[in-house]
Structures are given as structure tokens and as C-alpha cells.
């Protein structure tokens, strides 16, 4: 019994019949129903600044024939509204005839529990921790000029109704705990940000006073930056630390390996399948099946179970990430990468947890091998132009390397490179593979979805560092 039709003049049966009637002459499509709620509790400037709650309910009805996607969404789950949407889809596709593909793989695997993080911790106890965070950081000394800390929690139930009454369901918890510190010394101000999260209850990330580690890390980054000098400008060697710096992989090659851009031949990678795109020893996977991770999904937003997709194996391009539409048009199968931000958005092939697997070198060996370069440990975010292949990402904690030794911290700078060639410049892959702390959100075509990244330390022979010091 579906809870989506509880206060509606529709029931599952009537909805299924409208769905089948609409989609029978199409190649694919579904009715996607979503009920989500989210909360934000923010402490800032010594006070609880924002306590907000949001609930959202609606459907997205999609029909696809050939390359054409017709989509209609509404918050009004009623017979009248759904029939209007159905008519809208039929109008768009009226001149086309398709054959509905009923095949959808099944799996019993689950990568997170059906829990509600918002209800499972009281508002009082969330506020109490935020106040403790504030006091804890401010007790670290009089350099502290600003502290923000927040809880973001989400609970999303989805139901997918395909033609012939095939129904798929998933319930997804997601939380994030963030701390931001601004330190000030002699008029100079610097920020440090750190956070943790994933698909569990808040307490899993806070217990054993783990919240103090998050505070310490944010404080430490701000303190490092207070001592930073101008970053260098120009091409040089770059050592990336393990974990979160893997947003390099996400930007440099991840987006370029999404199926839609390759089907449309607008990705710099579209004609490189089977070719060498990275140094030997570089293996990159996109994995939706890691337990409790931010980018993990039991099923994707089309109902396909997620998987671990090998994108690059020992430097050779092996697979793209696919949703059902692009897989069909490229004669392959969905990799369970079809995702959407909400019922208001169309499905696109997207990343889940993108990871470079470990190698044999130690971080120490990498740094020792560099005469002049930078060591980048923490990043803000990145962006890519998938057509030219050029990508950037912004350091938030980095140091210069001089004669094989780590030197002074340097100011945040943008690093720029070329996606299809950057991984050929990777000359050492570390033995210290690490997952990110669970804070990433990826944007594409105006849609944000939670993702993860992971990598060991790596040495890149040549990248352009966007500092001001010539």
C-alpha cells in the first residue's frame, strides 16, 4: 500500500493504469514519487541563527521515445493533475512510436538503514551540541573572531512506478555536521572549514566526542592559513594529500565520463574508449555500493541497483557512467548512475563515490622527490568545462615544497589543468588510500546531488598553480 496516495483521489491502481496507458507506446519512462523532509539548525555569531524545517511532496512523470524526453512534474498528487501531465507527455511524443523496455535488474542489497535522522535526535540535544561547539572553539583563545556550526538532516522516500505496475522503493537518510572558524590576528583574517556526514544518524558522527575532532580540524586549518604567504604562479609539481583532494578526479575526468556528454560527443573523452588516458597504475572506479557513504544508493532514481563501475583500469579507459536513456542509445546497460536532485528534475547520469585506488608509494617519498612545487591537503570545490576538458579546483590548505621538504603554508589558490592529459602526469600513486569525510555535493545542469570521493596521495608532474607570486 503506497502512502503517496493517502490524501489523494488516486490510488495505486488508478495511478498505475495512467502510467501504463501513457508509457505503452514509449521506449521508457516512469512515475517518480517523492516525499522528503529536511532540517537546518545553524549556530552563528554566538546564537542559534536559523532553525528551519522543510517538507516536500510531489511527482515527476517521464516518457522517453528515441532521444526525446518528455517530463512533467507537480506537487499536486491528484487524478486531474496526473492526467494533465499524461496529456502533456503524449503531446510531446505524439509523432513517435517506441517499444517499452520492461527489463530492470533486481538486487536485495541495501547500503543504509531506513532511519529518520531528523526525528531520531531531539532539537534540544542538537542545540546543546552546537552551543558546546561554540564554547569549545571560543575557549581555544582570543584569535577566534567567528564560529558557525550547523546540522543538516534529510529523509527522502521515493517510489518508482513503471509500466505494467512494476514498483520500486527506497528510503534515504542523509546528514551533515559542519564547523567553520574565522581567526583574526593583527587585522588578518582566515577561515577554516571542516565537516562530516553520510547516510546514518547524527550520533554516529558525534559520539566519543568526535565533534571535537571536527572543531579541532577547522581551527587548525584557519590557524595554518593565518601564517600563509602568497601562493606561487606558474607550472610546477603538485603533491595531493589523500581523501578529499580526490575532487581532482571528480572534476578532471569524472564529469567527462558521464554517458550523456559522450553520447552527444561533447565530452573531451568521447572518442577515447579503450585508449590510455592515465599513467599505468592508475585505476579509477565510481562506486554506489559502499555502506553508509554520502554518495551511495541502494537503487538509483530510475530504480536500477547501483554497482561498482570501473572507469579507468591501469590507465586505460574502460567504461562510462550510464543512466537508462544513454545506455540504450549507446547499446550498453545502465550502471545505476541515473540520478536527480528531486521530483522536479530530470534524470541525468551522475557520479556516486568516485575513487582512485591505492598504489605503492609513501607520501614522504613523493615530497622528497620534488625540488619546487606545492603540497595541497584540503580543497574548497572545483569546476570543469567538459568540452575543452579544462578543470579547476581551489586549495584551502596548501604548503610550498622546497628541495624535498614541506615549507611555509600558502594562500588559497586555484589549480588548473586539462582533464584528458592530467592523469598521464601522475607519476606516483600512494599507499594511503582514504575516503573523504562525507561533505560533497556535485552540481550539474542546475541539480545538486550528494557525492563522495576518495584517493591516496598522488604526485602530479605538472600543473598550473594560480597564485600571485611570479
Amino acid at each position: 500500500m503506497s502512502k503517496f496516495f493517502q490524501n489523494s483521489d488516486l490510488d495505486s491502481k488508478k495511478a498505475e493504469s495512467i502510467v501504463s496507458n501513457t508509457l505503452n507506446n514509449c521506449d521508457d519512462g516512469e512515475l517518480y514519487l517523492e516525499n522528503s523532509k529536511s532540517e537546518t539548525i545553524l549556530l552563528d555569531d554566538n546564537k542559534i541563527k536559523n532553525s528551519s524545517y522543510s517538507s516536500d511532496l510531489g511527482y515527476g512523470f517521464r516518457a522517453i521515445t528515441g532521444e526525446v524526453v518528455a517530463y512533467s512534474h507537480s506537487n499536486d498528487i491528484s487524478k486531474d493533475s496526473l492526467e494533465k501531465s499524461s496529456q502533456n507527455l503524449k503531446d510531446t511524443l505524439k509523432s513517435k512510436k517506441g517499444f517499452y523496455n520492461h527489463e530492470i535488474p533486481k538486487s536485495n542489497n541495501k547500503y543504509y538503514e531506513d532511519l529518520d535522522p531528523i526525528e531520531s535526535k531531539s532539537q534540544d540535544s542538537k542545540i546543546k551540541i552546537l552551543n558546546e561547539v561554540n564554547n569549545y572553539i571560543r575557549s581555544k583563545g582570543d584569535l577566534v573572531s567567528q564560529v558557525s556550526a550547523s546540522f543538516l538532516g534529510e529523509h527522502k522516500e521515493i517510489e518508482i512506478i513503471r509500466s505494467n505496475s512494476e514498483i520500486l522503493r527506497d528510503t534515504r537518510p542523509l546528514v551533515r555536521f559542519n564547523v567553520s572558524v574565522v581567526l583574526e590576528r593583527n587585522g588578518k583574517k582566515e577561515t577554516g572549514v571542516y565537516g562530516v556526514g553520510g547516510r546514518q544518524s547524527y550520533d554516529e558522527y558525534l559520539n566519543n566526542e568526535n565533534w571535537k575532532n571536527v572543531c579541532d580540524e577547522a581551527y587548525r586549518i584557519a590557524q595554518v592559513n593565518l601564517n600563509s604567504k602568497s601562493a606561487p604562479a606558474g607550472e610546477m609539481k603538485v603533491v595531493l594529500g589523500p581523501g578529499w583532494p580526490a575532487i581532482l578526479i571528480h572534476e578532471a575526468i569524472g564529469h567527462g565520463l558521464e554517458g550523456d556528454f559522450n553520447r552527444k560527443k561533447t565530452s573531451a573523452f568521447h572518442n577515447l574508449m579503450g585508449e590510455r588516458v592515465a599513467s599505468d597504475g592508475v585505476t579509477i572506479v565510481d562506486d554506489g555500493t559502499i555502506n553508509l557513504r554520502r554518495g551511495s544508493l541502494t537503487i538509483d532514481d530510475e530504480g536500477t541497483p547501483t554497482e561498482k563501475t570501473v572507469l579507468i583500469e591501469n590507465g586505460i579507459l574502460k567504461n562510462f557512467m550510464q543512466d537508462r536513456l544513454n545506455a540504450r542509445l549507446m547499446n550498453t546497460k545502465s550502471t545505476g548512475s541515473g540520478r536527480r536532485e528531486s521530483y522536479k528534475h530530470v534524470v541525468l547520469p551522475r557520479m556516486r563515490n568516485t575513487m582512485m585506488l591505492g598504489g605503492k608509494y609513501s607520501q614522504e617519498e613523493m615530497i622528497k622527490s620534488v625540488d619546487r612545487g606545492i603540497f595541497a591537503v584540503s580543497f574548497g570545490g572545483g569546476q570543469v568545462d567538459i568540452t575543452s576538458g579544462k578543470f579547476v579546483f581551489n586549495c584551502t590548505e596548501a604548503y610550498e615544497i622546497v628541495n624535498g621538504k614541506i615549507g611555509s603554508p600558502i594562500k588559497g589558490a586555484t589549480l588548473i589543468g586539462d582533464g584528458p592529459s592530467i592523469l598521464k602526469e601522475v607519476s606516483m600513486v600512494g599507499n594511503d588510500m582514504k575516503l573523504d569525510p562525507g561533505i560533497g555535493t556535485c552540481g550539474k545542469a542546475g541539480q545538486g546531488v550528494p557525492v563522495g570521493v576518495a584517493q591516496p596521495s598522488i604526485l602530479i608532474n605538472k600543473m598550473t598553480v594560480g597564485g600571485t607570486q611570479l
Partner: protein
């Protein structure tokens, strides 16, 4: 059709009444209904049609100095009741904050001028497809174009904003948007660029074939780029990105970042932050303006502000909460700037290109490299090398970096200001930035 004002007023009034009944001392509510229809074409074929019909309600309840906010897309009576009950519950459990309150009654918008923000005309999807075909035909007339993607979006919304001090106002708005992305390919190298037109009224849209032509020409011009060596060089920002300078200013002078002490412009009020020739306005009352509004998101009356006069910072963008914290009155900028623009410059565009003999003309930046706490700026970029006023070759895979305190003081404006976005700037030259390349 979007829901009429009467329906939205009714939802808003019921919300205020029920919240007060449950113990709210003050209430603010916003109800929005919008319908949006988009058609996408790719390589002259229909790719996607998308219809969106959405409601949103946002409720803020106050119990004396306690406050919390709730939002939802479900406007059924039952759901709204549940939401209000939950909002009141959360409010009770939220600590007091002395600055929480509705705006002063005398600051609220009174007689609203019709800003002509709504065009009731509707473009059916088949007509949209016809127009997009025209865009793509024009794009494909250019050599080396291998891919085009275009879309036409029509959006209609209606909203009301109400509060428990008796304020209840709203209006309809519309937006029509045509855009084109073109990919140019030569040998094994590809470049992408775009153009668009976005207006409140259909009749004001740019010529569709110009959009296609510009997108294609922009992409073709980028083919065969070079990476230049690192150097200090004059940087010219094309109009596509020069408005970004104003976006940085707008964030840095919001009362929130000033009050929190996290802006590089803190303590700069009445001080010279730009060179003496620079004047910057924020005008909410421009007819058909993309950023126009009669009142801000709290219902406070908006007026034209001169934010920067002869290079001197004259005003912050102030909302009620942070205004109280700074001991200033709200100037109707809860939700940020409206139609923000530089007063037009005096230097003809061609003269600007010729200055210094050699400049780097930037048409696109990538990445989020603006640090508003320190003013440090470092982003990826591409564009063209300009020598003696002529474009000599395209440049890519470089970064540009500096600090906004210096950047602001070293800006020269061209005389080509136009109103294409809600925030607008003419082409401008910045001296003293560093390019990192080879």
C-alpha cells in the same frame, strides 16, 4: 494559468490566523505558485520538453524573541496545519535572540508602482520549437559547428507576502528565456560557448538568429588556444563576467557579512574602495527589470540606492535582523541587491582594448575562487590576447589572481553598459593582476 491573488491571499491569511491561535506573537508568510514550460532542441531535433507546476509556502513564526522557519510544497489544509504546529513547536525550543522581529510598520511598502513585470502572452510549445529551430539554423551557418543545444523557457509566477502586522501584497511576474550552447570542433579539439536572451516580456527578446550566430561565433573563436607564460598584465573583463565584480561587492556589503565581521569591506563605509570615477547604483524600480521589486522578502519598501559615489562606499545592503544588530534601519535589501549596476564608463570600447598596447581579454572564468573574508581572488580563465586593440589568438588553461582591495581601485570602465542581467557592468580593464600559465 497561475493561481490568482485571491487564492494565495486566502492561504496566507489562514496561515497567519492559525499560527496566532497556536501562540505565535508574530508571523510572516510567503505563498508562491509558478508554472514553467521548457523545450530543448539538440542538433535541430526535439530533445526534451519539461512542464513544472509548483507551489511553495514559507512560514516564519515568532514567539516574542524566538523564531523559526518552515517551508513546504504541499498546500493542502491538513498539511499546512501540521506545518504550523511543527513550526510553533520548534520556535518554542529555539533560544531567544534580541534582534528577532518583523520590520517596523513604517518601513513597509505602501502604494506599489506597477513595474510592468508580467506579460500574459503564452508561447505554445510548437511555436517554441519553431523559434529554437531558427536559433540552431543560424548557429549551423558558421563553420566548424558540430553540436548545438538550445532551450526556450517560459515562466509565470504569482506570489503574496503577508505578515501579522496587516501587510499583504503580491504581484505576478513572467520570464522568457532563449539560450543556445554551441560546440565547435577542429582536428581533435573542441570548444563550447553560449549566448542567451532573457526578458520579462516576449516582445523584448533578442532576435533568435542572433543568439545562434553569437553562440557559434563565440565557440569558433576559441579554437586553437594557446597557454601563455605567467606574467603581470592588464586584464579586460568581457560584459559576460564583469558583472561578477558587482556580485562580490554585493555579498561583501550585505549587513550579514558586515555584522558577522567576515567581509573584507568591514569598516570601509565612507571610505574610498574604488577609484574616484566609479559610481554604483542599486535600482529596484526599473520597469521590466529582471531584478525589479517593490518590496523585499520581508515586505520593506525598496528605493534606489547609490552604493558607491565617486569611489566611496556609501551604504550597505540591509535587512531587518542584521540592521538591528548594526543599529541601522533596513533599506529593503533582505534577499540582496535588485538591479545592480555601474554607472556607464567614459572610455570607448576600442580605446579600452588599445590601452597598454597589450592586454588579456577574459570571456570566461571557472571555479569559485573568491574569498570574501580576505578579498583574495584566484580563478581559472580563458579568453584572448589583445595587442594594439586587435585580438591576436585565443588563450586557455590559465588562472588570474589578485586581491579585491587592489582590483577595485584599478578598474577603468568602458562606455558600453547594457541591461542584459539583473546585475550589469560595462566591459572593464583591471591593472595589476597576475596571470599564471606555463
Amino acid at each position: 494559468m497561475v493561481k490568482d491573488r485571491e487564492y494565495l491571499n486566502k492561504v496566507a491569511s489562514h496561515t497567519i490566523e492559525y499560527s496566532k491561535k497556536l501562540g505565535a506573537t508574530d508571523v510572516n508568510v510567503q505563498v508562491i505558485h509558478s508554472i514553467s514550460e521548457t523545450v530543448n532542441l539538440r542538433n535541430k531535433n526535439l530533445d526534451e520538453s519539461n512542464r513544472s507546476d509548483s507551489f511553495a509556502i514559507g512560514i516564519t513564526t515568532y514567539i516574542d524573541k524566538k523564531k523559526s522557519t518552515i517551508s513546504s510544497s504541499n498546500l493542502s489544509n491538513d498539511n499546512i496545519k501540521t506545518l504550523i504546529e511543527r513550526c510553533i513547536e520548534i520556535t518554542k525550543n529555539t533560544p531567544e535572540d534580541e534582534f528577532n522581529s518583523l520590520p517596523e510598520i513604517e518601513l513597509m511598502a505602501k502604494d506599489s508602482k506597477d513595474l510592468n513585470l508580467y506579460d500574459e502572452n503564452h508561447v505554445p510549445n510548437n511555436k517554441k520549437i519553431e523559434i529554437l529551430n531558427e536559433v540552431e539554423e543560424a548557429a549551423y551557418l558558421q563553420k566548424n559547428i558540430t553540436n548545438t543545444e538550445t532551450d526556450f523557457t517560459e515562466n509565470k509566477s504569482n506570489f503574496v507576502l503577508g505578515n501579522s502586522n496587516g501587510f499583504m501584497k503580491g504581484y505576478e511576474t513572467s520570464n522568457f528565456n532563449i539560450s543556445c550552447v554551441a560546440v565547435a570542433k577542429k582536428d581533435n579539439q573542441m570548444e563550447r560557448d553560449y549566448d542567451f536572451t532573457s526578458k520579462r516580456h516576449i516582445s523584448d527578446l533578442a532576435n533568435p538568429s542572433d543568439i545562434g550566430k553569437n553562440a557559434a561565433l563565440n565557440a569558433v573563436k576559441k579554437l586553437d588556444p594557446k597557454k601563455i607564460k605567467s606574467e603581470k598584465i592588464g586584464i579586460i573583463f568581457d560584459k559576460k563576467i564583469s558583472k561578477g565584480i558587482l556580485a562580490v561587492l554585493s555579498s561583501a556589503i550585505s549587513a550579514a557579512s558586515i555584522a558577522r565581521g567576515t567581509s573584507f569591506l568591514k569598516d570601509k563605509i565612507e571610505k574610498e574602495i574604488f577609484s574616484k570615477t566609479i559610481n554604483i547604483f542599486d535600482d529596484p524600480k526599473i520597469e521590466k527589470g529582471l531584478g525589479s521589486r517593490n518590496f523585499d522578502s520581508e515586505g520593506v519598501e525598496t528605493q534606489k540606492l547609490k552604493l558607491v559615489e565617486n569611489g566611496i562606499l556609501k551604504s550597505y545592503l540591509i535587512d531587518t535582523y542584521y540592521g538591528k544588530k548594526l543599529n541601522l534601519k533596513s533599506n529593503g535589501r533582505s534577499g540582496g541587491s535588485t538591479n545592480l549596476f555601474f554607472e556607464n564608463g567614459l572610455t570607448p570600447y576600442n580605446d579600452l582594448l588599445k590601452s597598454n598596447g597589450k592586454n588579456l581579454y577574459i570571456t570566461e572564468t571557472i571555479g569559485h575562487g573568491s574569498n570574501l573574508v580576505t578579498g583574495d581572488y584566484s580563478v581559472g580563465a580563458n579568453g584572448f590576447m589583445v595587442e594594439n586593440g586587435e585580438i591576436v589568438y585565443p588563450v586557455s588553461e590559465i588562472t588570474i589572481a589578485g586581491n579585491f582591495n587592489d582590483i577595485f581601485k584599478n578598474i577603468t570602465l568602458a562606455d558600453d553598459l547594457e541591461f542584459k542581467y539583473s546585475t550589469n557592468a560595462p566591459t572593464l580593464l583591471i591593472e595589476g593582476m597576475v596571470v599564471a600559465g606555463r
